[in-house]
């Protein structure tokens, strides 16, 4: 089997003593694209943050394994070096650190000491990727995310994804706030990554992105659990009919307060 495998088993996650995830099970293998959909406030972003090790989220039960290794035992940076990548919904702004310096540090962190990327090779790869994603070359010299528009931040996340070449990537609402042109560019980047060694978990609120990036599996999250899984046709049905039929089918009441809990996180 090619690529890595990320296994999430019975994952329970709390933030400030409030349980958001209530037993998530999911396995992502190299070569597979998974999409997680669901209404706001059902724990989609919490899942992404918990996998990466966001300091505010506490895993209270369950496990996350990457090729059998216990991810929950790893520091955030170790998870990244093990091959995980999270394209964040709200990337931090880091003043005084140029995007280019940050990219090089990130790439070298994965490659390890003594195996740093040669400067010219780095510049060439970065320039090519900037072009591919239709990003102004000046961005490389701007401070990381500082003063970036929403669209620029998302493109920058995809730029990092493409340069870092992780084994498993999680894209947390990479499509939010993007106009259609930017959405196409971002999708082009994600599709370029597709190969048997790369697994991807796409978290999205809308079907829109899935018109450009076709998932192999679609999962629906509600109330902190994966409540339904299927193929691309599931996303299509959700787009056409909304979540009501699913709520009815599963007998789920809408609980609005979780939305605020997640957004404040």
């Amino acid at each position: 089997m090619a690529g890595s495998t990320l296994e999430i088993k019975d994952l329970h996650v709390s933030i400030e003593d409030k349980e958001i995830l209530k037993g998530v099970n999911l396995t992502i293998k190299g070569g597979e694209f998974h999409a997680i959909m669901g209404p706001n406030g059902t724990g989609k972003s919490t899942l992404a943050s918990a996998i990466m090790g966001h300091p505010k989220y506490e895993v209270t039960q369950g496990s996350i394994l990457l090729d059998g290794e216990d991810v929950l035992e790893m520091e955030v940076d170790e998870r990244a070096r093990a091959g995980l990548f999270l394209a964040m919904q709200y990337p931090s702004e880091i003043s005084g650190v140029t995007t280019s310096d940050f990219l090089r540090s990130s790439i070298n962190a994965r490659r390890g000491e003594g195996n740093e990327i040669p400067l010219m090779k780095f510049i060439k790869e970065m320039d090519n990727t900037l072009d591919f994603l239709d990003i102004d070359k000046n961005m490389a010299q701007r401070y990381l995310n500082e003063g970036f528009s929403g669209g620029e931040k998302k493109r920058n996340e995809i730029l990092q994804l493409m340069l870092m070449k992780p084994e498993i990537a999680i894209l947390d609402e990479i499509d939010s706030g993007l106009d259609i042109d930017a959405l196409k560019v971002v999708s082009k980047g994600i599709n370029k990554m597709r190969n048997e060694n790369f697994g991807c978990l796409i978290i999205t609120h809308y079907q829109r992105l899935l018109n450009y990036v076709t998932p192999d599996y679609v999962h629906v999250m509600m109330q902190g659990k994966v409540v339904k899984s299927g193929g691309p046709e599931l996303a299509k049905r959700l787009e056409d009919e909304g979540y009501e039929w699913l709520r009815d089918e599963l007998g789920i009441e809408i609980v609005e307060d979780e939305e605020t809990a997640e957004q404040n996180a």
């Binding site: 005084g96 310096d101 940050f102």
Partner: protein
Amino acid sequence: MTVETKLPYDKEYIEQFSQKRQEPEWMKQLRLQAMEQAKNLPMPEPDKTKITKWNFTQFNHDFGTGEAVSLKELPAEIKDYFDQEQLPENLLIQRNQSVAFASLSEDLKAKGVIFTDIFTALKEHENLVKRYYMKDAVSVDEHRLTALHAALMNGGVFVYVPKNVEVEVPLQVMFWNENPEIAYFNHVLVVADENSSLTYVENYISHNDDEAVANIVTEVIAHNNAKISFGAVDNFAKGTTTYINRRGIAYRDATVDWALGQMNDGNTISENITNLLGDNSNSFAKTVTVGRGKQTQNITAKIVNWGKNSEGNILQHGVMKDQATNIFNGIGRIEHGASGANAQQTSRVLMLSERARGDANPILLIEEDDVMAGHAASVGRVDPLQLYYLMSRGITKAEAERLIIHGFLEPVVSQLPIESVKKQLTQVIERKVY
């Protein structure tokens, strides 16, 4: 409250000192008068820092000379401040209290630019020095330390750029203090005449961990439509108690910009005041500092808007570790009549240890209606979400912190116009933070 303090040097000493340097009579009189004034003037009272126990008055003032050197013979730590491939055209090295090296390009000489040590300037350009020396910018009688400075001035530099002359290559000065005991009473006087421009960069380097005193006054004067860009890296050693006063004056349409890397290891009082006297004059005062050990620093940046449509910007960033204390005072003052003026400031302190102390005091004093003003101040720790973001790309926590700290100090580092000085400041920061 003034307490009569016994000062270590008397009238006779100063007369001899002045005579030995063959100073003009007015200079000698200025010194003697200042010594009298010093006896009764109060010490400065920096906001929120008690300096009553700091030693500013007990020191060794004996004139120490440093041998002349060729640039090749300099120790590495000094050499690193300039580009070895292309030695600076305009460089002055003051070793202890005498000139060890001085060069100025023929082109600038021919245009009438003066770039020399203060004692030579007193001989060769007496009238120019007399016209500006402690007159319009810093007064002798502001407090005891300015008076002591005037009485005991024992080194420094004079820069004069004539009308309409643009100095494109930076003027660089190294104040290199090898002698662990000698007090540093350095005076720097930079004058840019109308429509002229220059970039000046100075570095203070000392190595003594023994007790010493630095009492430095710097006057920077930009006449109408002149532009001065002033950069500095201060790196006095732990034993040195420093008072450093950098004062700017900007006349009509003039610019005085500051980029100060204040990296002293000892207790420091720093005041950087710019008076925007002329209409449309402006100043951007940027300073960064790193505090470590048990040092206490009180750093004031103040810009006073007198001229209409004058614009003042202050940026102060500090990183505090160990048990260091740092007070940032940011003061924007708009005088009556300065309509259209703008006073902005930002002060931020990053705390790296539980026991460090940091304080940022923004003050706006506004006497005119039609103006803009704003301030931002914060004291905090490294943002855990920034760390998380960087670490999520595989960067270790230590390296992520390093990136954030360097980024935080970048506003001044990036402003320094000489690549080698930039690199040195980065290294000093590295050394102080880790």
